[in-house]
Amino acid sequence: MRVSELASIIGCECVQEEYADGSVDSGYTSDLLSDVMANAASGGVLVTIQAHRNTIAVASLVGLAAVVICNDRLPPEDMLEAARAERIAVFRTGLSQFEVSGRLWIALRPRDA
């Protein structure tokens, strides 16, 4: 899957469109940034409600391709600016982390899982 396919697969709106449209092969769901820093995999998607620029700093450190902000939380402009500078896509949705993770899992799971 590519980053640009996330919007239709998850059902979310892209709010930061200046991203590198790389391939996505994993996801990580967490609202604790220290946990994301320690455990998320490079090239993946982060599913979270942490809508602030620190999330982008962590995403950039880990090498995440995209961040999905759940539960209708509104990413502030400085978060989007930071994401633009790092070419990380930001999506926004009214769905919960559970629902987004479920949809991502179905899209990304290995064929034999």
């Binding site: 604790l32 940034l33 220290s34 820093m37 320690a38 942490q50 602030h52 620190n54 700093a57 950039s60 450190l61």
Partner: protein, 255 residues
Amino acid sequence: MRTLVDLHNHSCLSPCASLEMSPSALCRIARERGLGVLALTDHNSARNCPAFAEACGREGLAPLFGIEACSVEEVHVLCIFETLDEVLDFGAYLEERLPTLPYDPAKLGDQVVVDVDENVLELPQRYLGAALSLGFGELCRAAADRGALVIPAHVDRGMFSVSSQLGFLPPGPYDAVEAVRRPAAALTRGLAAVSGSDAHYPGQIAARPFVVDMPEELTAPRPRGGSERFGPALLGALRGKLGLREVRAAWEREA
């Protein structure tokens, strides 16, 4: 005597703060803007407190020595001590509880230990903005047991606060809470609510101090030089004022 107190300030040691925030620059600007009592509160570390002590001496400010510690739940707490020795001891205790994560200054910001003349002494290799392996309650108790003022930081902000991470303020050994606006009663538990600048850039220094009436001998201009002797009486007096809620935060100061 009416005194402006600001207990929440970062220096260039905090990865998210400007490199312009040397302890000497912080203290010079704080004095120019009329602060009387100043605390340095870098994230999870006290390594710039020695330079801060000297800089306060130079500027004639009354110093307190703090750390903004980050609990495992990612709640920030201001832990403010009377003396340099105490904060260095607590800082060492906290740094042992920092995770060993990959730290890239280009992504997360520089962490610079300097002396009072802005010479670089050290670039700590652990990421100081990380969460400690200490629960919020455990962290507050450890600070209180060592005699610190314990003040949950920006309790009404949407990140790194008791409201964003826990949803409420659990019972604990707090002297006050710090808030951005007049906080809801549920977030104060009847404690004094103080404002703080949380200064990361020079422009933010002295933006949101609180006002307290302090004994003149604790706030009179200091001679240049050492600062340690101002500590104990000052922290005790401040604790008393907070306990009686005899403070005016930025949102209720007179025009």
